[in-house]
Each structure stands twice: as structure tokens, then as C-alpha cells.
């Protein structure tokens, strides 16, 4: 696969800041193999709505690539240059819609058994650029808080089973502990470290968030009308028998303004994020537990926050979701038992995703079953694999974690 001649006018459909970025790096882009550049453009085309951490990562990549001499650049990207494209892909439009092209490219990689080599090349490249131009150290140690809402009810399900070996399992937490304790922690950290999109509250229902511009707040409930619009879009695609791939592409192309998320008071970056969670995440449109888990994952991956609070609420039953998808639902029915299991796994995945970020060894994590006796805390100051039967309040658990919060 050879490099392609590029001109500034090829990128006219890109948003303003992305166009500036392209113009500044056009000479570099002309030296990049298409398989690589297409993926880079997939990120750049959305540059205007990227979080600061994502912008920093794109710019670090460009600095890294720009620092390499011609032969070094060719060597670094040679695995991408060796990827063979089909004649159809060679002819396909890729600059104006790199996401659509990348879907077809992905299918091609699988069909031609090039996917493993490509994945390895991508991993090696990421490691190389991170090593050459490292991410700045986080302003503070990161904190993840997961709350399983009290509505889930009593259950014999063994909570936090996958997390127990990594932290201390508290089994006698005061049931009357107030959720507000956690909101205060988020508000306090947002005040101490006032960085855009560094503090998040994600809810599976509707819930009070700290009143702070420094806290990005997203809830399943507040996005009901957007979910409804997207479900109708899915129904339209289905009626047209477009097929799952075309449906995914159509959903991913959803503009926030088209689903009522526009206006002067709307945070464009956050609204693009919210729409992407609902349009690109499977199941996020119909199950609140999936919404919370995926939103937390995407917020951690993309925004790299210092603080993240995710609160799970009961999701609807499978039958109820079917009714919603068909547009015949009158009133949702909830599955509190299943939701508890989903939330437990969601807590585990949120911790895993927190561990993927820089400074993971200094991070702290708490999972708490609201209104019940159980919590699981992971921090440098707490022993791993230990059960603690002390009668403690939630505030006391936080206090014991405090050396890293």
C-alpha cells in the first residue's frame, strides 16, 4: 500500500479546527501509508469535539511522527505499508468519511487474515509513540467510584467476587450511609483540580450531580429523547432491510443537532460524546446498566478523568426492551436481580478500565452497594484479598482509602 498525494482542499468537509490541524501536517500526511493515515484521520475528523486528553494524544502522535527522519518513518510504519488492499478499497473514498472506510477496511483485514498482523502493528506503534512522547503525569491520583443503587434489592448473589482479590471487602458498612458523601468527594476534587472533563458523574437513572462546571454529568434518564430518536432511526433502518453494518454506520453518523442536542447552552464536546455512547455502543439505547458501564468505559478511555462516579440503576427486562425496540412499550418493567449482576460486572470492568490509564498504581477504587452492608475498596493503603468485618460508615471506608484520594 503506497502513500497517496493529498491536498488541503481534500479536507474541506472537516470541521474548522481539524482543517487547521490537517493543513499544518499535510506534508507529513503525504508520507504516511493509507492504512495508517485512514485511522489517524478517523480521529482527526472529530478533533473539534475531542476531549483535551484526546487532543493531546493526537498532537503527541503528530509530534512523534514529525520527529522521525524519512527512513525512520518508513521503518516505523512499514507493517502498515505492507497491508494489501482490495481493488475496491483502493478506489474507495476514504478521506471524507474515514469511519465508513475503516469499517470496510476492517472487514477486509478479517477476510484476508491480515487482522492479527494489523493489530500487532497498531499495538507496537502505540507503545513506540508513548515511549517517545510520553503522556504528562496526571495532576492527581485517579479515583473511581461505582455505586450499585439501593433499588436493586436484597440478593444472595456474591457481589464483587472478581474484585475481592485486588482490594479489601467490607461486609459491615453502615446501611444508612449517604450517597451524598460520594458526591461531596467528587465536588471537592473538582474544586481542587479544576480541569475540564476531569471529573465525571454517570447515572443509570436520574440523580443529583454536584453543581459544578468542572463535573461532566451524563444520565440515561436525561437522554431519553435522544434514545427515542435513535431507536426510531434503528427501526427505520430495519424496515429498509439495510442490514446491521449499514445500520451501525447510519447511527454513527448521527449529528447531535439532529437529535435535539444543539443550542448555545449545549456543551458540544459532551453532546457529541453522549450521542456517540448511544449510537456506537451496543445495548446502550435500551439497557441502563449497559449505558452506565459503556459510558464509564468511554469516559475513562477518551477523557482520562481524575474522578469518575458511576451509579447503576435497575434496567428494564429483556421483554420490555423488545417492546421498546418495536415501539409498542407502554410502561417499562424492571429486572432488579439481573441488574445487580450486570452492575457487579460493570464495577469490575470500570476498575479494569481505570487500570488502563497512566498512574494506575496510585489510583483508588470503591464499589459500594447503596443501602446495604457491602463495599469493596482498592487503594495502596488497603490490603488486597482481605475481608473487613468492622462496622464502618461509607465515610470511614473513604477515609481508609484516603492516602490516594
Amino acid at each position: 500500500m503506497s502513500a497517496t498525494p493529498l491536498r488541503n482542499e481534500d479536507f474541506r468537509s472537516y470541521p474548522p479546527e481539524a482543517q487547521v490541524l490537517v493543513a499544518r501536517n499535510l506534508t507529513l500526511f503525504q508520507q504516511l501509508p493509507r492504512a495508517f493515515l485512514m485511522l489517524l484521520l478517523r480521529e482527526i475528523i472529530a478533533y473539534d469535539w475531542k476531549f483535551p486528553a484526546e487532543r493531546d494524544e493526537i498532537e503527541r502522535q503528530l509530534r512523534y511522527l514529525g520527529s522521525l527522519k524519512t527512513q525512520e518513518l518508513a521503518n516505523a510504519l512499514s507493517p502498515f505499508a505492507k497491508i494489501e488492499l482490495s481493488p475496491e478499497l483502493e478506489q474507495a473514498e476514504w478521506i471524507s468519511n474515514p469511519s465508513h472506510f475503516s469499517e470496510r477496511f476492517s472487514a477486509h483485514l478479517w477476510a484476508t487474515h491480515q487482522i492479527d498482523g494489523f493489530s500487532e502493528a497498531a499495538e507496537n506503534y502505540i507503545a513506540a509513540f508513548n515511549s517517545a512522547v510520553p503522556e504528562k503525569a496526571a495532576l492527581a491520583s485517579r479515583l473511581g467510584l461505582v455505586v450499585i443503587g439501593r433499588e436493586m434489592g436484597e440478593s444472595s448473589y456474591p457481589l464483587f467476587r472478581k474484585l475481592r482479590s485486588h482490594g479489601t471487602y467490607f461486609t459491615a458498612v453502615d446501611r444508612s450511609s449517604d450517597y451524598k458523601v460520594l458526591l461531596d468527594v467528587v465536588a471537592d476534587r473538582a474544586h481542587r483540580y479544576p480541569v475540564p472533563y476531569a471529573h465525571w458523574c454517570i447515572y443509570g437513572a436520574d440523580a443529583a450531580a454536584p453543581q459544578s462546571k468542572q463535573v461532566a454529568s451524563v444520565s440515561y434518564f436525561s437522554l431519553s429523547s435522544v434514545r427515542g430518536d435513535l431507536i426510531r432511526k434503528m427501526q427505520g433502518s430495519s424496515a429498509s432491510h439495510l442490514g446491521p453494518e449499514a445500520m451501525r454506520t447510519r447511527l454513527a453518523e448521527t449529528d447531535p443537532a439532529a437529535v435535539g442536542m444543539s443550542g448555545q447552552n449545549v456543551d458540544a464536546v459532551l453532546s457529541h460524546f453522549s450521542v456517540s455512547v448511544l449510537s456506537e455502543g451496543a445495548g446502550t439505547q435500551i439497557y441502563s446498566t449497559t449505558f452506565v458501564q459503556w459510558t464509564a468505559r468511554e469516559a475513562l478511555r477518551r477523557a482520562r478523568p481524575l474522578t469518575l462516579l458511576a451509579k447503576f440503576a435497575p434496567r428494564q427486562t429483556e421483554e420490555s426492551a423488545d417492546e421498546e425496540l418495536q415501539g409498542i412499550q407502554k410502561k417499562p418493567a424492571f429486572d432488579s436481580q439481573g441488574s445487580l449482576i450486570d452492575a457487579d460486572m460493570g464495577a469490575y470492568y470500570t476498575w479494569i478500565n481505570l487500570q488502563r490509564l497512566s498512574g494506575a498504581e496510585d489510583s483508588a477504587f470503591l464499589a459500594w452497594f447503596e443501602g446495604h452492608n457491602e463495599a469493596l475498596a482498592i487503594s495502596r493503603s488497603l490490603a488486597a484479598g482481605k475481608e473487613c468485618r468492622d462496622k464502618v460508615s461509607l465515610a470511614e471506608v473513604l477515609h481508609r482509602m484516603q492516602s490516594t484520594t
Binding site: A111, I126, G243, A321, M345
Partner: protein, 404 residues
């Protein structure tokens, strides 16, 4: 697909997350997965490792004949070790552990090196070749299917090979587009959902929604009502069940897989096909990101496997002469694969999503045997060929001597 954004900034090894991260290459990890599964199975069943056997006696060679039957059950929408053959998963597969492992042979390292999409992967299983067509395209496999080899070489009638498949997209799985085989030589394909959609008037689907759900990667229900009234009644006659009874029975079921097994049992009673392929699919609900529903589906699949075996034992046409194969089409992404989201999808192509298992049970199959050498999912067709006595010339796999 892997992107160029940094998804793995933190050190996974430092917190002991990646169970097999220290194993290195994907093939090393596949081996480690197998060892882990083998050790677990030995712990619960005292199974014997195949490597301990110096040779295999040709048990099967003495029993091959016209009476041989085979039922293949695939867990479409693969399962992971975490929820099956690891300690925490044990509670989800009581029937496999109690009724199948001690009485059968398990291959602990079945690797799928093809495309990890359910239709194309099932096509690869039935052809013994890694098919490369678009997973969502309505096309026949490119290479001859096991059903075509079976019918053409053994001169079997159309009624002797059937597929019961869950998704409307599987309608062409029964026969290939290959010039030397193809039309007229394949298996009959029953899509119970399509039958049900045709049997129930469009304005009376309330109560059937959970059975009509089709593709979990695209959750909106999109029935393809391509079954005419005539075809519906022909099928009803074939299965010896009235349309009204079929609809009424369906209403009592919880899931599409229960409907598939109901139809499969009717087929076994009425036509007794020698080669019956049942693709379960409920597990793929994992794509919705709901772990509890995924677990429910694994437990249901485990129970349905036991029901199918009970049907085999109960039906005189099958009892004592049927070999049952159970295998997921592939696995699902690992919890620690940065490009995925754990159990939800199978998009990374990591070793966990490629490595799975297969259980074989039936007369002549060694009991309580654990085979941990690597085999491939394409080896199933040549194994069926050796079992029945046909040659799958185009298959790329190799027959598995441990169950022959």
C-alpha cells in the same frame, strides 16, 4: 478494529489482571488457556489426558455403518472460559460437567483462525474451510458443506440431513455455491423464527417478541417474512404439528433456542435424520452488554444440550448409535483486551475469542478423556467424514483420531 488511539496506557501486568499476559504470543496464550481448562476439568472429573494414551484403537472403524447418526450442537455466540470452564463458571454448566464431561471426550483447545462472525464462522464449521464472505451477506458458503459430502457420497436422501438455525441470516447454510456440489445436494434448513413469524399474524405478535428476536448485533427485530402459507403448511406436515399447535407451544417457551430445540426434537421424531445440525444462538445476547442475560443464556444452552441428549436416548432411531458434538463457534473477547469490552463482543481477534472447546459423546467415544493438543474448528467436518465414511475433499481440517 484496533485504532491508533491509546487504549492500553496502564500496565495490566502490574496489577495481575492479565491471567495469561506473561505467556507471550497468541499461540502461547491459546496453549495456556487450554492448560487451565484441562487442569480445571481434571480437578472436577479426574479426567485422563489423551497424551497419556500411547495409541488409539480403531473403535469407530468397527461400528461405522448406515445406522450411524450424528447431532452437532453449536453455541452460536461463543462462550468464554470465565463463564464455563473456570471455577466461577462452573455453576453455569452443571449438565456439561455432570452428564457430558465424564461420559465423553473434551478437546480443550479448539482454535478458530477465521472470521469471528457467527454466520461466516458457522459456514466455516460446516465446510471445514475458513470462509471469507461478509458475515451479514445472504450468501451460500463457497466450499461444499458437510451435508453435501454426506448426501452425495453416501447417496442419502434430502430427508437425512437437516439444519435448525436460529437466525434468518442462516437460511443458506445448508448447501454451498460450489460448482461440484451445491443445489439439490445440501441439507434442509429450518429457521424456526421464520416459521413462527409466518404462523403468527403480524398484529398478534404480542407474547412472541422474545422468540422473534433475530440478530443480537442489531437488536431491532426485522422479520423476513419469506415463508408462504403453502411452505408453512408443508413444514407443519413434515413436522407433524399443526400451525395452531406450533404457535401455541411457542407461546410457552422463553427463548429462540428453546424453539429451535423443540423443532429439532420434532424432526428427530418424524424424520430421524442421520445428520442433524442445531445452532443455538441465545448466548449472543451478550452483545447487549447485559452480563446477567448472557449467563442466563449459557445456563439455558447447558440445559438444552442435556434435553437434546435425553431425546437421543429416548428415540429408538437414535439411541445407542448417535454421536453428539457440542462446540461454541468461537469465544468472546477477554476482560483485559484493550480493544474490546470483555464478554460483550468478539471483535478483537484475541486468543480468548479464538480459543474454545468441543465435547464429543456417544457410543465408542472414550469417556472422561481430555485432549489438550491444539485442534482447529475446521477439523470437525473431516471428523464427521471419518465417522460416516465420506471424504470431505475440499476441507482444510484433519480428522480427530481421539474420537474415531
Amino acid at each position: 478494529m484496533s485504532g491508533l488511539n491509546n487504549r492500553a496506557g496502564g500496565s495490566m501486568k502490574s496489577v495481575g489482571l492479565s491471567r495469561f499476559a506473561e505467556q507471550g504470543s497468541p499461540r502461547d496464550i491459546e496453549g495456556a488457556i487450554s492448560c487451565s481448562r484441562r487442569d480445571f476439568l481434571r480437578g472436577i472429573s479426574g479426567g485422563v489426558a489423551a497424551a497419556a494414551l500411547s495409541a488409539f484403537s480403531p473403535l469407530r472403524a468397527m461400528t461405522v455403518g448406515k445406522n450411524q447418526k450424528a447431532v452437532v450442537v453449536t453455541f452460536g455466540g461463543g462462550t468464554r472460559d470465565e463463564e464455563t470452564f473456570m471455577p466461577d463458571g462452573r455453576e453455569n454448566i452443571p449438565h456439561l460437567l455432570k452428564d457430558f464431561i465424564p461420559q465423553g471426550t473434551i478437546f480443550t483447545q479448539v482454535v478458530n483462525r477465521g472470521i469471528l462472525g457467527h454466520y461466516v464462522a458457522t459456514a466455516s464449521l460446516v465446510t471445514g474451510v475458513y470462509e471469507t464472505f461478509n458475515n451479514f451477506a445472504a450468501v451460500s458458503p463457497d466450499n461444499p458443506t458437510v451435508f453435501e459430502y454426506f448426501r452425495k457420497q453416501l447417496h442419502r436422501p434430502a430427508s437425512d440431513a437437516w439444519v435448525v438455525a436460529p437466525s434468518n441470516g442462516f437460511g443458506l447454510i445448508g448447501e454451498s455455491s460450489h460448482a461440484s456440489h451445491g443445489p439439490g445436494l445440501g441439507a434442509g434448513v429450518i429457521l424456526p423464527k421464520r416459521l413462527l413469524a409466518a404462523a403468527v399474524p403480524a398484529n398478534e405478535t404480542a407474547g412472541y417478541e422474545q422468540l422473534l428476536r433475530d440478530n443480537y448485533e442489531s437488536p431491532v427485530y426485522a422479520p423476513v417474512l419469506a415463508v408462504s402459507d403453502e411452505q408453512l403448511h408443508q413444514m407443519a406436515q413434515l413436522l407433524r404439528v399443526s400451525v395452531a399447535d406450533f404457535s401455541a407451544h411457542a407461546r410457552s417457551l422463553r427463548s429462540p433456542d428453546e424453539l429451535s430445540v423443540y423443532v429439532a426434537k420434532q424432526l428427530m421424531q418424524q424424520l430421524a435424520p442421520s445428520l442433524l445440525w442445531i445452532t443455538l444462538h441465545d448466548i449472543d445476547v451478550a452483545h447487549a452488554g447485559t452480563y446477567s442475560l448472557y449467563i442466563d443464556a449459557i445456563q439455558r444452552s447447558d440445559r438444552l444440550c442435556s434435553e437434546i441428549w435425553n431425546a437421543i436416548e429416548k428415540e429408538p432411531e437414535y439411541a445407542g448409535k448417535t454421536t453428539m458434538f457440542i462446540l461454541p463457534d468461537f469465544g468472546r473477547d477477554s476482560d483485559t483486551s484493550a480493544g474490546g469490552n470483555g464478554f460483550q463482543h468478539h471483535r478483537t481477534g484475541d486468543a480468548y475469542s479464538r480459543t474454545t472447546w468441543m465435547i464429543v459423546k456417544g457410543p465408542g467415544v472414550r469417556e472422561n478423556l481430555i485432549v489438550d493438543r491444539p485442534v482447529e474448528s475446521t477439523d470437525l467436518v473431516p471428523t464427521l467424514g471419518a465417522l460416516f465414511g465420506f471424504s470431505p475433499n475440499f476441507s482444510h481440517g484433519r480428522a480427530l483420531p481421539e474420537v474415531l
